[in-house]
């Protein structure tokens, strides 16, 4: 990818005293690509974004945009545009002046400013909001104006720092789709920081999962969900059952049965940690798992079961229930799983996800 990388971060590191916020982080984005930095609070994703934006100086490493090394450039001259977690609109300026601010600083001719501000406000769907002041805008409108303020300068790279996190659920869904649409329309290379896995999975071309200042896995959303590189990623992305069990004679002891899989052949017997997603478990009539409770998620039923390995969550659709069958607390069920959806870890060492059969 390096020969086509539009934004390239190489060996970026940043420490605050003894705390290492980012450790030797390397990432590459193609032109027009949207990559999400996904991780829990304090994992270093915002620090990384701020280093790209020029607000935080890296201790080590380099940042290149379109081949140009911008590591030493201050924020005000970088070809980046940033949208912050809070809209950060200047309250003493109306929307028009907020959006036109950067153009005025660049001494763009007045007719050009007028045209670009108008076009950008139309692009974000608020063409008539120019005279409004920030306190008169809703949260979603304010974030759109913040996006317009970044877009109007035609940055080479758009930086989004959890821009939807302060919005209510409905608005967040709508706005993220709109932002994705605008990003694709304008072909902007975009780096998004989020701790919301659903958001990252929904709008990213690629996702880099971060923890403790490092990238744990970097791939497309589908692979990240179905083939997490290790348990740390698996735990963070989507719902996951993590169960302690063991390998006996090359067979995996799980839900009351010992199953021999091809992928287990090379492994030595002993304790093993197994991870499997709730939707990859199937409830069948039988014994081995007792239903503790059932909660309705709307699109599915979430069934909480007690097994020999501890509590397990399984999702089942109403449509898959047989006529007359119901899932009631206290009932016994047999749990089935797909071998290719299992993630195994022996001790602290990640092994592999089992190959598809």
């Amino acid at each position: 990818m390096s020969e086509v990388a539009f934004l390239a971060l190489e060996g970026l590191a940043k420490s605050y005293g003894s705390f290492q916020a980012v450790r030797a982080l390397s990432l590459q984005l193609r032109e027009g690509e949207l990559l999400s930095l996904l991780g829990p609070s304090g994992c270093g994703k915002t620090t990384t974004l701020r280093m790209v934006g020029g607000f935080t100086a890296p201790d080590q490493g380099s940042i290149r945009i379109a081949g140009e090394d911008i590591t030493k450039y201050p924020a005000e001259v970088r070809p980046t545009g940033m949208v912050f977690q809070r809209a950060a609109l200047w309250p003493h300026m109306n929307v028009w002046h907020n959006v036109a601010f950067g153009l005025k600083i660049r001494r763009v001719p007045r007719p050009e400013i007028y045209r670009r501000v108008r076009e950008t406000l139309e692009l974000v769907g608020l063409p008539d909001s120019g005279k409004k002041y920030p306190p008169q805008l809703s949260g979603g409108q304010a974030q759109r104006i913040a996006l317009a303020r970044a877009l109007v300068l035609r940055p080479k790279v758009l930086l989004l720092d959890e821009p939807f996190s302060n919005l209510d659920a409905q608005l967040r869904l709508r706005l993220r789709e709109e932002v994705r649409s605008i990003q694709q329309l304008s072909g902007l290379t975009t780096l998004l920081v989020t701790h919301d896995q659903a958001e990252a999975l929904a709008i990213s071309d690629r996702i880099a999962v971060m923890e403790s200042g490092e990238v744990l896995q970097e791939c497309n959303p589908a692979d990240l969900y179905t083939r997490p590189a290790n348990l740390r990623v698996a735990r963070f992305v989507g719902e996951m059952n993590v169960l302690k069990t063991e390998l006996i004679g090359g067979a995996l002891k799980l839900f009351g049965e010992c199953a021999r899989h091809h992928s287990l052949d090379a492994l030595v017997d002993g304790p093993v940690t197994v991870a499997i997603r709730p939707e990859d478990l199937v409830l069948e009539p039988g014994q081995g798992a007792r239903i503790e409770s059932v909660s309705d998620l709307g699109h599915a039923l979430q069934v909480h079961l007690q097994t020999a390995h501890g509590p397990v969550r399984a999702w089942t659709s109403r449509k898959t229930l047989r006529p007359g069958e119901s899932v009631r607390p206290g009932a016994q069920r047999c749990l089935l799983y797909r071998e290719d959806r299992l993630l195994l870890e022996i001790s602290a060492r990640e092994v592999s996800d089992a190959p598809s059969t």
Binding site: G53, G54, F55, P74, A75, E76, V77, T80, G81, M82, F84, Q85, R86, A88, L89, W90, P91, H92, F101, G102, I105, R106, P135, A146, R149, A150, L153
Partner: protein, 304 residues
């Protein structure tokens, strides 16, 4: 049921009246105190300066060169304005107050910005040091400044050792400005610093992201967002400067003199309370103009 509801309604209707009365009773003491200590003396001083001398007030009726009248007259003000010395005093007072205000605003803003945006040792030290003048009584500070800046003081002696000429600001208007700056800096930095704390860091980052350099950031974002605080500092410093006595008395020039010192002379040494009160009324009016700015600033802040 109906009777019960009606009873409850009457109780609810009574409650606001009782609440209003309680509220009025609570604010009555401070309002009465304000009327007694501020409004009444102010009204009586204004009427005295307009020639209406109360017969039962010995302090007002026994001074020299009293101008008495049955109706309000500006004779006292005309007489004052006719004196070149008074005009020079007034010009000096307003000039010193303006210079002090300007100096304090600039220095306090620079200090507030520096201590707000920097986290290294010097900034940490300054954050503690700038408050020191607040804990030193004005009279002590004035003598300290006198000993340091006077012609034969520490600085003068040092410069004399180097063979360079030195013109001490002490006993000139510069000395008063120096004293006012010393006294006013902590208040200015505290208030402006608090204002800067209110500015979300993202607002500044967003401006930098749009291409604002430090001066654009200061002029187009920080100052407009902190304008009210600056106006408040300027207003209070100016009003304080107009009425300041100790610093002008100890560090100021002999002629012309600042109005507060001159008022004291007229009232005590010259036994002419009427011109002294007229000067006080004029000082009050000029300060009121500045006070109007403060009211405007707070109104604007509320509107935002």
């Amino acid at each position: 049921m109906t009777t019960l509801q009606a009873g409850a309604r009457t109780q609810q209707e009574k409650r606001p009246i009782r609440a209003q009365l309680t509220g009025l009773l609570l604010v009555a003491p401070p309002i009465a105190l304000l009327a007694l200590l501020v409004a009444w003396p102010a009204v009586s001083a204004i009427s005295f300066s307009l020639g209406l001398i109360p017969g039962n007030n010995l302090l007002f009726s026994q001074g020299l060169h009293l101008i008495r009248s049955d109706h309000p007259t500006f004779q006292v003000y005309k007489a004052l304005w006719g004196q070149p010395a008074f005009r020079a005093d007034l010009a000096l007072t307003v000039g010193v107050a303006l210079w002090s205000t300007l100096s304090i605003c600039v220095l306090a803003y620079a200090l507030a910005l520096y201590t707000h945006f920097h986290r290294h040792r010097l900034a940490t030290l300054l954050r503690s040091l700038y408050l020191v003048p607040m804990f030193v009584p004005v009279v002590i500070a004035s003598y300290g400044l006198l000993l340091f800046f006077e012609g034969r003081g520490w600085l003068g002696s040092l410069i004399a050792q180097l063979g360079a000429p030195y013109r001490s600001p002490i006993f000139h208007q510069g000395g008063v400005v120096l004293g006012q700056v010393w006294q006013g800096i902590p208040f200015g930095v505290l208030l402006l610093g608090a204002g800067l704390e209110q500015i979300a860091p993202e607002l500044l980052d967003a401006a930098r992201d749009c291409g604002a350099n430090i001066w654009t950031l200061l002029g187009r974002v920080i100052l407009p967002l902190n304008w009210t605080g600056l106006l408040i500092v300027a207003t209070f410093t100016f009003i304080g400067g107009m009425g300041s006595f100790t610093i002008p008395f100890l560090l100021g020039p002999n002629a012309p003199q600042l109005l507060a010192v001159e008022m004291n002379n007229y009232f005590g040494s010259f036994d002419q309370p009427q011109p002294a009160v007229a000067m006080a009324v004029l000082t009050f009016l000029i300060a009121s103009l500045a006070g109007g700015l403060y009211v405007f600033a707070t109104y604007r802040q509320r509107k935002l």
